[in-house]
């Protein structure tokens, strides 16, 4: 009954899945950048998101020194107390469903 039709069935099922979910489609990654600044003991991260509006279009995820993820619904983030030394900050934008756009930016700062 299915002889010779299997590859076509599998292909059709995959196409159907893609059509049904639509969630794997490639989306253009929004342009963004960020600056790091020391203010006393604090680290201030300012994210410039251009036409990507926060929180309407999504939000910002931040990781410091490969630590856990912090999430913000605004474009300024202040860590009140940072230890002196060199720190790495990674910023990514995500949509409201927490799906990343596939672009992350990384910067370092020396806290004195």
């Amino acid at each position: 009954m299915f002889r010779g039709k299997l590859p076509a069935m599998v292909l059709a099922a995959i196409l159907l899945l893609v059509a049904l979910t639509g969630c794997r489609a490639e989306r253009p990654a929004p342009e963004f950048d960020f600056t790091l600044e020391q203010s006393g003991d604090a680290l201030v991260v300012n994210v410039q998101t251009g036409t990507f509006k926060v929180p309407e279009n999504g939000h910002v995820h931040i990781r410091i020194d490969d630590g856990p993820e912090a999430m913000l619904y605004k474009t300024t983030y202040t860590v009140p107390k940072m230890d002196p030394g060199r720190h790495k900050v990674v910023v990514e934008l995500s949509d409201p469903q927490h799906n990343y756009f596939g672009v992350r930016k990384e910067k370092e700062i020396e806290i004195k």
């Binding site: 009954m1 299915f2 002889r3 299997l6 590859p7 069935m9 599998v10 099922a13 995959i14 159907l16 899945l17 049904l20 979910t21 969630c23 794997r24 929180p55 939000h59 931040i62 410091i64 630590g67 856990p68 993820e69 912090a70 999430m71 913000l72 619904y73 605004k74 983030y77 202040t78 860590v79 009140p80 107390k81 409201p96 469903q97 927490h98 799906n99």
Partner: protein, 166 residues
């Protein structure tokens, strides 16, 4: 090898769900202070940054009971304050819920009646909302992958049976 292709494709589909399921791993901590019936809660994220603009409630209840949530007001960025209504038992529980957009965090502490509470750190546990709109994507994807897997197995078995009959 040719027969493995649909199975491998199905596995690929199942694996592709993984990044969208449980990918979010947020955490927060709250510092509870209680003076009289006035509760102050300072909410911080994993790096100690103030969690601003949240909706916060507190419910005071006898241990094991459910209390009526009362709103807390943000008095400064990341700090929320409100009045509790203690149930009159020797001890009671304070349950604070913080909602930052769609993210819900919950944390609680047991307090002796009539006693103040110096600033005490309480972990705020992220609670998955029952139905987020992102919920159905992975579920639909997973269900479809399961159907594809079962259909592939059935088709392969029938194909094998047809070959044996021939």
């Amino acid at each position: 090898m040719k027969r493995l292709v649909p199975v491998l494709l199905t596995l690929l589909l199942i694996l592709s769900i993984a990044p969208s399921v449980g990918a979010h791993n947020l955490s927060a901590t709250a510092a509870f202070s209680l003076t009289g019936d006035e509760l102050t809660v300072r909410v911080m994220d994993v790096y100690g940054a103030a969690v601003e603009g949240a909706k916060a409630t507190v419910a005071a209840s006898a241990p094991g009971k459910k209390g009526q949530p009362a709103p807390l007001t943000e008095i400064q960025p990341g700090t929320y304050r409100g009045t509790i209504s203690a149930p009159g038992t020797a001890e009671y529980d304070l349950l604070v819920e913080i909602t930052v957009f769609e993210e819900l965090f919950r944390g609680g502490i047991r307090v002796a009646a009539g006693e103040s509470l110096a600033e005490t750190l309480v972990p705020m546990v992220p609670i998955d909302p029952p139905l987020k709109h992102s919920f159905w994507g992975p579920v639909l994807y997973g269900a479809a992958a399961l159907v594809l897997l079962v259909a592939t197995v059935v088709a392969l078995r029938r194909q094998r049976g047809a070959e044996e009959e021939a």
